[in-house]
C-alpha cells in the first residue's frame, strides 16, 4: 500500500454523471490487481472515498466513477494537471481463473468499473463474456477512446463479447444483468459479479431457491449447475468504509467463516460465503 500523489493526465465525463479519470501513479499502477481499490482524499472531507481500479498499466491507473455526493462531486471538479492524494492499492482483488475456459462477468451499474480491469486481464487467455446492466441507455458504458490510448491493456476490451441490458429497455435487452447472464452461466466455467446490493440479493435468492417453480411463478429457479457456479462466483462488495485498511471495523460483514472486513479481507468474497441477509446498506 502506498500513499501517493497522482497526477491527473486525463479526466472526462463519459455519461450523465459518470467520469473517467486517468492519472500517473507508478507504484500503485505497478501493484494493482483487478478487484483492488484506492482511497481518494476529497478536499477537506474527513473520510477518503473508496474507488476501484478500473485499469492499470504503463505507470497510470484509471478510475471510473459516478458523482453521487459530496466526495465524488468534488472529485469530478479536478482538472487535468492537478494532483490527487490516494492510498492504495487496497483489498484482496479477484483471484484469476486457472488455465482457460469461459468466464462470465456480471456487472450492475458501476460494477463495470472493477470488472473491466479483470476482463482486460483475462482477454488473452479466456473466453470472456461481459454482461452489463444499467438503469437506462445513457448509463451503459462504451469503452472511451482515451482509455484505450492511454492504458493499452484496455484495448482488448473492445474485442470482447459485451451483452448490454437496461432496466427500461432503452438500449440492449430489457431486464437486469443477472437475468441476461443466466443462459450464459449455463455454459460458463467461472463467474464474477459486481453490482448494487439489490443485484447481489437477487442472485442470492436464486442460489437459495432449489425448488423448480418456473411454471407457477416468475422464475427464481435456476439450474443446479448455475446455482453451483453462482455460489462459487467471486463477488466484490460495496459497504461504507472508514479507514480502508482494516483498522476501524466500519466495513465488517457477516460471512460463513465469521465476520470479515470488506476493505482488508475483501472486497472480493466467494459469493456463497457472504451472509447476505446480514448486510444492509
Amino acid at each position: 500500500m502506498y500513499k501517493s500523489t497522482m497526477h491527473v493526465l486525463h479526466h472526462e465525463r463519459v455519461g450523465i454523471d459518470t467520469f473517467l479519470l486517468i492519472a500517473g501513479a507508478p507504484e500503485v499502477a505497478r501493484e494493482s490487481r483487478p478487484g483492488q481499490f484506492v482511497m481518494v482524499r476529497c478536499g477537506e472531507l474527513p473520510l477518503r472515498r473508496p474507488i476501484s481500479v478500473h485499469a492499470s498499466s504503463e505507470g497510470s491507473i484509471a478510475l471510473l466513477y459516478r458523482a453521487v455526493g459530496d466526495g465524488t462531486t468534488w472529485l469530478s471538479s479536478i482538472e487535468q494537471g492537478q494532483s490527487l492524494d490516494i492510498t492504495g492499492p487496497l483489498g484482496n482483488g479477484y483471484s484469476l481463473p486457472d488455465g482457460n475456459g469461459r468466464v462470465v462477468l456480471v456487472a450492475g451499474g458501476m460494477g463495470i468499473a472493477p470488472l473491466c480491469f479483470l476482463a482486460a486481464r483475462l482477454a488473452a487467455s479466456h473466453e470472456v463474456i461481459l454482461v452489463h446492466g444499467a438503469r437506462t441507455a445513457a448509463e451503459l458504458y462504451e469503452v472511451p477512446g482515451a482509455l484505450c490510448e492511454m492504458v493499452s491493456e484496455t484495448r482488448a476490451l473492445r474485442g470482447l463479447r459485451w451483452i448490454r441490458a437496461t432496466d427500461d429497455g432503452s438500449n440492449g435487452a430489457c431486464g437486469s444483468a443477472l437475468d441476461l447472464a443466466l443462459p450464459h452461466l449455463e455454459q460458463a466455467d467461472y463467474a464474477y459479479l459486481c453490482g448494487p446490493h439489490g443485484m447481489c440479493v437477487a442472485a442470492h435468492d436464486r442460489v437459495a431457491n432449489t425448488i423448480d417453480i418456473t411454471r407457477q411463478s416468475g422464475g427464481l429457479y435456476c439450474s443446479p449447475k448455475v446455482r453451483e457456479l453462482l455460489c462459487a462466483a467471486q463477488v466484490s462488495l460495496e459497504v461504507r468504509m472508514g479507514c480502508g485498511v482494516g483498522a476501524c471495523y466500519a466495513c465488517s460483514i457477516p460471512t460463513v467463516q465469521g465476520r470479515r472486513k470488506v476493505c482488508a479481507d475483501g472486497p472480493v468474497f466467494r459469493f456463497g460465503d457472504v451472509l447476505w441477509e446480514g448486510i444492509c446498506t
Partner: protein, 255 residues
C-alpha cells in the same frame, strides 16, 4: 478488547457529517484471549508501547480482561473505556455517574499494576465530578474525551443514516468541546490528562497541551491522512525549536 469476541453493530456503521464522522461500530473485536495469543507477540516486537482499550457489559468482565492482559508482554498500559456511546449495555453506563465510574476504576485497579488510563465521556452533566472521582480511585491518567452522541437522518429514504438511531461523533467538529473539557479536567485533577477529540494538525495538539494535556490521541484524522500523526509530531518539534521551548512542560496548562 472484551472478554469474548464481540460482533459489533448492524451496518451502516459510519457516516460523514460536516467536519466530522459519526460511527456506530459497537466495539467489534476478536476478544482478549485471541488478541493475547495472536497479536501481543507482534506488539512485543514494536518499538512503540501498545495500550489496550478494554470494555465490558459488567464490572466483572472489565476485571477479567484487565487480569488477563496484566502479565502479557507487549502490552504497556490499559485504557478503560467507560465512554462508548454505541452499546445498549455496559461501557458508557459506567461512565455517566461518578459513583459507578469510581467503583469500576477501583475494581480494575486491584487486578493490574499496569498504568491505568480511564477514558471519559463528554455525554455527562459534569465531567469534572467524574474525573475527580476516577482520579481518587486509582487511575494513573485520564483520556478526555470519547465521542459525542449524535444522529443523522436520510430525508429521502426517511431513515437513520447509521444502522441505529445514534452513533458517536468525532473529528474536527468536536474539537472545541474536547478542548474545553480537557481544560476543565486538567485543572481539577493532579494526574496526567490525555487530550483527544478532533486533533488533525500540530496546532490542534498544541492547543490541547496549552489547555493542560500531557499527551494527545489522534483518531479520525488518521482516516483523512494516515500520515497525520507524523506531521503533528514534526510540527510540534518545529514549533518548540522556533519558539525556544526547552520542554513541553513550559507550555503545558499555561492557560
Amino acid at each position: 478488547m472484551t472478554l469474548v469476541p464481540w460482533e459489533g453493530n448492524e451496518q451502516p456503521r459510519i457516516w460523514e457529517t460536516d467536519a466530522g464522522v459519526l460511527n456506530s461500530i459497537g466495539l467489534e473485536n476478536i476478544g482478549v484471549a485471541v488478541a493475547i495469543r495472536e497479536k501481543a507477540p507482534l506488539w512485543a516486537t514494536w518499538k512503540v508501547p501498545v495500550i489496550v482499550n478494554i470494555a465490558g457489559h459488567t464490572v466483572d468482565e472489565y476485571i477479567e480482561v484487565a487480569r488477563m492482559v496484566d502479565p502479557v508482554e507487549g502490552i504497556a498500559a490499559i485504557e478503560v473505556n467507560i465512554s462508548c456511546p454505541n452499546l445498549e449495555r455496559g461501557s458508557l453506563e459506567f461512565g455517566t455517574s461518578a459513583v459507578t465510574a469510581a467503583r469500576l476504576t477501583s475494581a480494575v485497579r486491584t487486578v493490574t499494576t499496569l498504568p491505568l488510563i480511564v477514558k471519559l465521556s463528554p455525554n455527562v452533566t459534569d465531567i469534572v465530578e467524574i474525573a475527580t472521582a476516577v482520579a481518587a480511585s486509582g487511575a494513573d491518567a485520564l483520556c478526555v474525551i470519547n465521542t459525542l452522541r449524535g444522529t443523522a437522518i436520510d430525508v429521502e429514504r426517511r431513515r437513520f443514516r447509521l444502522g441505529r438511531p445514534a452513533g458517536g461523533l468525532s473529528g474536527p467538529a468536536i474539537k472545541p468541546v474536547a478542548l474545553h473539557m480537557v481544560h476543565r479536567v486538567a485543572h481539577a485533577v493532579d494526574i496526567p490528562v490525555i487530550g483527544c477529540g478532533g486533533i488533525c494538525r500540530w496546532r490542534d495538539a498544541l492547543e490541547f497541551i496549552m489547555a493542560g494535556a500531557t499527551a494527545v490521541q489522534v483518531g479520525t484524522a488518521t482516516f483523512t491522512d494516515p500520515d497525520s500523526m507524523i506531521s503533528i509530531i514534526d510540527g510540534i518539534e518545529a514549533y518548540v525549536r522556533q519558539c525556544d521551548v526547552a520542554d513541553l512542560g513550559e507550555i503545558r496548562g499555561i492557560l
